[in-house]
């Protein structure tokens, strides 16, 4: 709880800085754009966050998003599937990819890192093959869906409202149901969970399914958002933003720790940082540097809090370091 309050304070500070950096007349449109981005990014962060709680990780999210988006275009344009049916098929595809990851990790016994690293390569390549490295003309086919999604409701993007819905569901699932409890138990001590009669493999696979399913939802949002798919760039680095958001939000990559609220705040911080960089007219390519630095700083602060290190300890450490270098 303390952790969430800390990052929430940081989020508020960032927002304040953005307000200062922006022309008051542009506040409304900036808010709208921000909420749109948070909506799309938040969904994959929730997915990977649930997985990280069980002690897993998924590096293939970005590629899965791209592959799902490309498949969606193919289903709509080439197979002439009605859009609701295509959406359903993509959700199934996402769940299937997750199930495959989960089975490889549990029953085959491979490392999550390796399995999903392979996915990172494979699904990106598959998407390029599927689109022939072209940009499918999906815009006219999804025009009405696109218009609906890009609209705003009470000044906030429809995407953000969607995220709010998924956030509510994920929160109930993770923090109020038995299944969520089992996720935490497995992440904290898989053996104790197993010895308590929990079907560990089932829940681990479920976590992978949810993660990829949320990525598939993210893919659909992406298609409706920009009405275009480019296999070489769609979803690029999304897994890293998602994992970064979850970690910023207090998930431990060792598993067993994290809150859905934290995940959303973490994603929001990433999006606000990016926005602030644009507003402050810092060079575009410095953005990853700022995000990497912010993440590292958070990790250091978190570790200090955990170990109870005070500033005097740090100054002592620095002094010792300094002494060593000047004999």
């Amino acid at each position: 709880m303390k952790k969430v309050l800390g990052i929430f304070a940081f989020l508020c500070l960032l927002y304040l800085l953005i307000l200062i950096a922006t022309d008051p007349e542009a506040w409304g449109s900036n808010n709208f754009n921000l909420s749109k981005r948070i909506g799309v990014y938040g969904i994959s962060c929730l997915g990977v966050g649930l997985l990280i709680v069980t002690g897993g990780v998924d590096l293939s999210i970005g590629s899965v998003i791209c592959f799902c988006a490309a498949t969606f275009c193919w289903l709509v344009l080439d197979c002439k599937l009605p859009i609701p049916l295509a959406i359903f098929a993509i959700l199934l595809l996402g769940a299937g990819i997750g199930a495959l990851n989960g089975v490889l990790v549990t029953y085959v016994g491979l490392q999550a890192f390796v399995v999903t690293l392979c996915g990172l390569f494979a699904y990106r390549g598959a998407a390029r093959w599927m689109t022939n490295d072209d940009i499918p003309r999906i815009a006219p086919a999804v025009a009405s869906w696109s218009a609906f999604c890009n609209d705003s409701f009470l000044g906030v993007s429809v995407f953000a409202w969607m995220l709010l819905g998924f956030f509510a569901m994920a929160t109930v699932f993770l923090h109020f149901t038995i299944h969520g409890r089992y996720f935490f138990a497995i992440g904290n001590n898989e053996r104790a969970a197993h010895y308590s009669g929990i079907n560990v493999n089932f829940y681990k696979i479920l976590a992978y399914v949810l993660c990829s399913l949320f990525a598939a939802i993210g893919a659909l949002m992406e298609v409706f958002w920009i009405s275009s798919v480019q296999a070489s760039s769609t979803g690029n680095f999304m897994e890293l933003y998602a994992i970064a958001g979850a970690v910023l939000g207090g998930c431990s990559l060792r598993g067993g720790d994290g809150t859905t609220t934290g995940m959303i705040i973490g994603t929001a911080i990433l999006c606000l940082l990016r926005n602030l960089i644009q507003m402050a007219e810092i060079k575009d390519y410095l953005e990853p540097v700022v995000i990497g630095g912010a993440l590292l700083l958070c990790a250091i602060l978190d570790e200090m809090l955990r170990r109870g290190i005070s500033w005097s300890d740090i100054s002592l450490f620095l002094r010792q370091l300094f002494r060593k270098q000047t004999p």
């Binding site: 109930v172 109020f176 149901t177 038995i178 299944h179 409890r181 089992y182 935490f184 138990a185 904290n188 001590n189 053996r191 104790a192 969970a193 197993h194 010895y195 308590s196 009669g197 929990i198 079907n199 067993g256």
Partner: protein, 503 residues
């Protein structure tokens, strides 16, 4: 001439345990001294002190009559003392010569540090020849048998100019012929004046090889045996001789004979090498399971609970055969396991008392999958009260509780439902006397309610104090079954160390 090694009044304490108290030991040149004792008697700690792995809290060590401080393994090796661990420490991907000279490879080329392969392999061949190890020094260690690997470890020790070899359970994974070869090598070494400290649970081997036996009990010397005195029963007597305390709370039922058993286990095996384990437990009966570490007690518990795959065999509860493939199967049949290591398998340490207690029964505490917080609180409160868990609140993190209270939380986690078979693996290891007594009272209570209890324990006092009947395991099979009136520590240790059952 002064003894090769003399250890005087060695003491060592770990948090909560006095591992060694004023232990004395001396080793002469060319002598084989066996160190024996029950699990936890302090053998390993003593050996680690002698080999410089850990240091003693107090006491004195002398080598060749001169006091020495062994602060590290390197220092001990410098004085010619080398410990060979039970689990071999070899780099399996390197060849024999590479392992023998690991970290001390002969080099040439100055700072470049190029390995002088021909010299290394020649030297290695010389040493392995001395040991009768037939493999080429170029053979990769992973391709050798365990017995040959053991010899490579000894070769490494010899290459260090070792004068005292400490062997910790060297035969635990050797076949009979490999053991015979090892013994031949050891006796040749002693003829060359090398001394050997030999630690083993296998008293038969001790009878064969030892010139002198040093018995440890509860971290103290319990007598030495020399020459003809070295006999199985004499050793066992010194290993266990002590008084039983009166804190076991067992109200034994009058007669259990004739009642249908709660549990019957038929031909259960978890590895192909076993003969298969058979036993039954009657309602209200507490069956103790004794045996040394590695005798298969924990493996049996894990197999009955569905954690370990059952190769063959059947388990019936109340006459109905239950297929057990997962812990969930076992739990549904009423088989609960209090696991050996509560911190690894029993509890989620970073979680609260409440979360741990409710973990096994969340489905009955929830409506439509949503956990009902108030019911969960009530359950945790009630269980903590019933089991007398001393904690400031049920939202306390389990890691902050004492060992005894942690174990009570493990019990509370399972016992809101009455089990049919409760398997307890080392139920009181490392907990204080008060909590022990409370746990014994709980067991008695459960038995009175008609549950069957299988209590695995290395603590013979506990086995004798609580059991109505005792099963003894040795090398993955049942070595014998003892009724209450046949029980004595000597008989149990006799069976557990591979002595033949009386017929």
């Amino acid at each position: 001439m002064a003894s090769l090694l003399r250890a005087v009044n060695i003491s060592k304490a770990f948090p909560g345990v006095q591992a060694l108290a004023d232990v004395n030991l001396h080793v002469e040149r060319g002598e084989v001294v066996a160190v024996v004792g029950e699990n936890g008697a302090g053998k390993s700690t003593l050996m680690k002190i002698l080999a410089g792995v850990t240091t003693a809290d107090s006491g004195m060590l002398e080598v060749d009559g001169r006091p020495v401080a062994l602060r590290s393994v390197t220092e001990a090796e410098h004085l010619g003392i080398v410990l060979i661990h039970q689990e071999l420490n070899l780099a399996g991907n390197l060849d024999i010569a590479g392992n023998i000279f690991l970290g001390r490879e002969p080099t040439w080329g100055g700072v470049l540090g190029l390995i002088d392969h021909s010299r290394m392999h020649d030297d290695a061949a010389h040493i392995t020849g001395r040991l009768g190890l037939l493999a080429s020094p170029y053979a990769v260690v992973d391709t050798l048998s365990i017995g040959q690997q053991q010899l490579v470890e000894i070769a490494r020790a010899l290459s260090l100019q070792s004068r005292l070899l400490i062997l910790d359970e060297p035969t635990s994974s050797l076949t009979e012929s490999e053991t015979a070869l090892l013994f031949r090598v050891l006796s040749e070494l002693t003829e060359q004046g090398i001394s050997i400290l030999y630690i083993s649970h296998r008293l038969k081997e001790v009878e064969i090889i030892a010139d002198r036996v040093v018995v440890l009990r509860d971290g103290k010397n319990a007598g030495d045996l020399v020459g003809d005195e070295i006999m199985h029963h004499a050793i066992v007597q010194r290993m266990v001789g002590r008084e039983l305390k009166q804190f076991f709370q067992r109200h034994r039922p009058e007669a259990i004979a004739g009642v249908h058993p709660v549990v019957s286990v038929r031909g259960v095996r978890w590895s192909e090498q076993q003969k298969g384990i058979d036993f039954t437990i009657a309602p209200g009966e507490i069956v103790g399971m004794a045996g040394l570490m590695g005798s298969g007690r924990t493996e049996l518990a894990e197999t009955l609970f569905g954690v370990r795959r059952m190769v063959s065999g059947a388990v019936a509860i109340d006459g109905v055969t239950i297929p057990i493939r997962t812990p969930a199967d076992a739990i549904n049949a009423g088989i609960f396991l209090i696991p050996e290591d509560r911190r690894v398998q029993g509890l989620i340490l970073v979680d609260t008392v409440k979360d741990n207690i409710s973990l096994t029964q969340l489905s009955s505490l929830s409506r439509f999958g949503i956990v009902q917080g108030s019911q969960e609180d009530e359950l945790a409160q009630a269980m903590c009260q019933q089991f007398n868990v001393r904690t400031p609140s049920t939202s306390q993190t389990v890691a902050n509780l004492s060992g005894g209270n942690q174990q009570k939380v493990v019990l509370a986690k399972w016992l809101s439902r009455t089990p049919r078979l409760l398997i307890m693996d080392e139920p009181t290891r490392g907990i204080d006397v008060g909590a022990k007594s409370e746990i014994y009272a709980l067991m008695d209570d459960l038995a009175e309610k008609g549950a069957a209890i299988l209590m695995i324990s290395s603590d013979l006092e506990e086995i004798l104090g609580m059991s109505d009947r005792v099963l003894v395991m040795h090398d993955g099979d049942l070595a014998g079954q003892l009724r209450r009136n046949e029980l004595s520590e000597q008989v149990i240790m006799h069976l557990a160390t591979g002595g033949a059952a009386k017929t």
